[in-house]
């Protein structure tokens, strides 16, 4: 290797790192600038209620699904059915709680939560089996299951009735336990709510799984090059199917939190949330093809999108401009990603 070639190689590596870093940092810088301007301009932005009780608590449930989605997308997959899965899980939860009410409220809730988790995982397993073992394109599979799951929801609710926990006291308790429960964080005034606690717990577990276990490394390997991973002896099909089941589990958790917040389960709820989730993952920096990315990135992407949504309300922006702004952000972030990739390949 001549010196010139060596130089070029080093340059390429160097610019790759710095550009990547710059790109990641740019989202953080953007977040910081947005936060600073918003705090200066709106007296209600930088308050504990707005940021923690409103913004982060609302973001937590969507964020939990985004954690599962990150696993699926790093392995090169895609899941459009998450919102429908979440809706079905909420409905199943209400139906089982109502059916088990005679056994006592606590037992009913615990059994129902377990059953809901199983349902979420099972629906994920349907996606996983079709994608990994049958080999159908994940977009097609999850697009179809999205309709099917919505249909399940409609069937379970007799055509779209609102489902609520039948006992009024239990309905209130359920919300108290799973949503309004607050953990004193910095004294009595600054408390964090249950969804945030659940999110942090799942985030840590997910981080451990993805970064520190063989399972996590296999997921990256499959996203990077499935063939190579298979040749290296990885059971790629099983791992891929597992990512969808994980994603289904996160849908079940989110379904329970949504139910606790709204006290109602609807077959047609969360329309379009699958796209919010995918947007958060992509804006964070996990590419559609998989192979790289991570949970921290997803968290940053999620917070960026949610902060912007919150600001649009804070600054009284008309409903018609909101999707435009969200769409533009995704577009710009992904465009930068593509440009950076092109640059590093040169």
């Amino acid at each position: 290797m001549t010196d010139r070639e060596k130089d070029r190689l080093l340059n390429a590596v160097g610019s790759r790192i710095s550009l990547r870093r710059l790109q990641r940092a740019s989202i953080l810088i953007l977040l910081f600038v947005l936060g600073a301007v918003a705090s200066a301009k709106s007296p209600t932005f930088l308050t504990w209620y707005n940021l923690v009780d409103n913004l982060f608590t609302n973001a937590a449930a969507v964020g939990i699904i985004a954690l599962g989605m990150t696993f699926v997308m790093i392995a090169g997959g895609f899941d459009l059915s998450v919102a429908a899965n979440t809706a079905v899980c909420s409905i199943v939860l209400v139906l089982t709680v109502n059916a088990l009410l005679p056994c006592g409220p606590l037992a009913a809730v615990i059994v129902a939560l377990m059953l809901t988790a199983i349902v979420g995982i099972a629906l994920g397993a349907i996606n996983g089996t079709l994608v990994a073992y049958v080999g159908v394109n994940p977009f097609v599979v999850t697009l179809s299951t999205m309709f099917v799951f919505r249909g399940f929801g409609l069937i379970l609710t007799q055509g779209g009735q609102s489902m609520q926990i039948a006992s009024l006291t239990l309905r209130r308790q359920f919300t108290d336990w799973l949503y309004d429960f607050k953990c004193p964080f910095l004294g009595a005034e600054y408390q964090i709510s249950m969804p945030i606690i659940v999110f942090i717990a799942l985030f840590l577990i997910g981080f451990y799984l993805l970064r520190l276990t063989r399972f996590g490394h296999y997921i990256y390997a499959i996203g990077g090059n499935e063939q190579a991973a298979w040749l290296a002896g990885v059971n790629t099909r099983l791992i891929k199917a597992c990512t969808y089941m994980l994603c289904g589990f996160t849908c079940a958790v989110a379904g329970a939190l949504f139910l606790a917040n709204a006290t109602t389960a609807e077959a047609t709820s969360h329309m379009g949330k699958e796209l919010d989730v995918i947007a958060a993952v992509i804006v964070g920096g996990t590419p559609l093809g998989g192979g790289s990315g991570g949970l921290v990135l997803t968290l940053i992407g999620l917070i960026l999108l949610k902060v912007i949504e919150n600001l649009l309300t804070q600054f009284n922006v008309g409903a018609e401009y909101r999707p435009v702004v969200t769409g533009l952000i995704i577009l710009v972030v992904v465009t930068i990603d593509v440009l950076v990739n092109k640059k590093t390949r040169q």
Binding site: N11, G14, S15, S18, L19, L22, Q23, S26, L30, V33, L34, V37, A38, K41, S42, P43, T44, T47, Y49, N50, D53, N54, L55, T57, N58, G159, G160, Q161, S162, Q164, T175, F258, N261, A262, T263, T264, E266, T268, S269, H270, M271, G272, I308, N310, L311, T313, Q314, F315, N316, G318, A319, V325, L328, I329, V332, T335, I336, L339, V340, K343
Partner: protein, 312 residues
């Protein structure tokens, strides 16, 4: 380090797009009164309510924040939280569903933010200042009566109903049942949910015409769907079938004039939005309000259609 020019440019554009409009926002040191207006925008009806509300807000010097819950009560409860976080002075709420939104209003009660319920009913267990809205039930009764009279009090009818379990759906279904008590010879033979989709109504209507050749009337929750059903009747040469809608949109008034549909009842969304904001400001000024402000829905038939101008 060698940063791509276009990358830098794209980053700058992103920053500019986001930050510049915010710099332009009015400093809220001298903050107007804030009104949260939580509705859905999935039908032109709501757009006109929103226009009325925003216009009235401008006239009275209050800031109106309109949020679109897209018929989803779960989303609407999140939006209520946003309103509490924004510390609005009062909220005008169109509850997407009657029972589920009780929790949302309770949250506003706890935060000491007064609530005016707009257009749709709310369940028990929460407190609000007043209700303002179209009297959906009496409007539906008007439409049902037009249909029954036009049919001469006998025959088979089909009902196209909307979002199951929503306030208007319940009221309109109840209105039909109540009116039919006076017309025992009228027999409802099918109930089809239309989910807000004209094409769906058309396909269903074609099927129903085959299935019930002796059909004499259509009771549609909403003008759009009445028009869709009537067009199918005309195409199949069944102009004898009487079709009524409810709402009184511009298109429907034209359709009544042309004789495409038999009649409809006249709702005034713009008026609803205006009145809601007006009452909100009155309440904030300390005036005492009535508990309910129903807005009447007069009948529109071929005889009087020329006197109406649709608000949506």
């Amino acid at each position: 380090m060698n940063i791509n020019k276009s990358t830098r440019f794209a980053a700058l554009v992103l920053l500019a797009v986001l930050v510049l409009p915010m710099l332009g926002c009015r400093d809220r040191g001298t903050r107007n009164r804030q009104v949260g207006f939580l509705i859905t925008l999935d039908h032109p009806y709501w757009h006109n309510m929103r226009l009325g509300a925003e216009d009235q807000g401008k006239k009275l010097g209050v800031d109106v924040t309109v949020l679109n819950a897209r018929e989803d009560p779960v989303l609407q409860i999140e939006q209520i939280k946003e309103m509490i976080a924004k510390r609005v002075d009062i909220v005008c709420l169109a509850p997407m569903k009657k029972e589920p939104l009780v929790r949302g209003v309770q949250m506003l009660n706890e935060a000491n933010i007064p609530v005016i319920i707009v257009n749709r009913e709310i369940g028990e267990g929460c407190s609000y200042v007043c209700f303002v809205g179209t009297d959906t039930y009496s409007g539906a009764v008007t439409s049902a009566k037009i249909l029954a009279e036009a049919m001469g009090g006998k025959g088979r009818i089909v009902e196209f109903h909307q979002h199951l379990g929503s306030g208007p759906e319940l009221a309109r279904s109840r209105a039909l049942r109540d009116v039919l008590k006076d017309y025992p010879a009228i027999e409802p033979v099918a109930r089809i949910p239309h989910r807000g989709d004209r094409d769906f109504v058309k396909t269903q209507m074609q099927t129903l015409l085959q299935k019930f050749p002796d059909m004499a009337g259509v009771y549609a929750h909403g003008d759009n769907f009445a028009i869709a059903a009537a067009q199918v009747c005309v195409n199949s040469g069944r102009t004898d079938i009487k079709v009524v809608g409810m709402g009184g949109s511009q298109e429907a008034i034209e359709a009544v004039k042309d004789g495409l549909i038999t009649g409809t009842s006249y709702q005034q969304p713009e008026q609803e939005g205006r009145l809601a904001i007006e009452l909100a400001v009155k309440y904030l000024n300390g005036e005492t309000l009535e508990k309910a402000y129903p807005i009447e829905c007069p009948p529109i038939t071929r005889d009087n259609a020329h006197r109406f101008k649709g608000q949506f």
